[in-house]
Amino acid sequence: MKANQSIITRISATISRVENLTGLYALLVVAVTVIGLVTLPFITYHDDQLYPKTLDPDSTLDPYDRGGVPFGTTLVKAQYPENSPFVGYVTAYLTPLSQWLADTTHHMGTTIVAHPGGIIDEILYNTRGLDTVVETSILFVAFAIASYLFRRDA
């Protein structure tokens, strides 16, 4: 690069190289974050959250015990409960196997809730199901790319 080039030409030379792209983007993110650091004290945690957590260490479903009656109404603080008429049903439901686990063991809450049913499934499949649609599609697409490249080159 010649010394007598104007600043504009020099910037142009930098941005015209694809290899510098990542660096430029990272620089931008750093700049925004540094500015964001200034505003950080003004960000407060909103106390009235959706799907809040309640922990009950004595429950066998800990940390996912959200109460409720199976096949009955369960209070789930969704954004639009009226759009999901059966909200809370999945949360309260335990399969026979997980019911048995819950009756016999303690400290297996995560396993029990991950088995079909439970609050996370409620959110992932029912109230925010569209997120999961998109997410599985992303997985689908990404692996389509990877396996196409893999099989073509191999």
């Binding site: 063991t105 303690h106 400290h107 297996m108």
Partner: protein, 80 residues
């Protein structure tokens, strides 16, 4: 619960020794001591039959890790 404090202190001691030691082969026994201590601590922290499984899983897992590191450090199994 003096046992728990003893075990935790030994874990810290072993971790420090393992960090200070420079030779990889001699590091591993220290790490082994730490694994023993942590596995014991898991059971002492929570008195429940599943803790035994957790301790065993942790111990077997970390032993496996040490085994793999040592074997790779030795240059793999095939060359002997």
């Amino acid at each position: 619960m003096i046992a728990l404090y003893v075990v935790a202190a030994i874990a810290v001691f072993a971790a420090i020794r393992a960090t200070v030691e420079r030779n990889t082969g001699r590091k591993l026994p220290y790490v082994n001591v730490m694994n023993f201590a942590v596995a014991g601590a898991l059971v002492l922290l929570l008195d429940h039959p599943l803790s035994l499984v957790a301790a065993a899983a942790y111990f077997v897992g970390s032993t496996l890790e040490a085994n793999a590191i040592a074997s790779t450090y030795a240059g793999g199994g095939r060359r002997e």
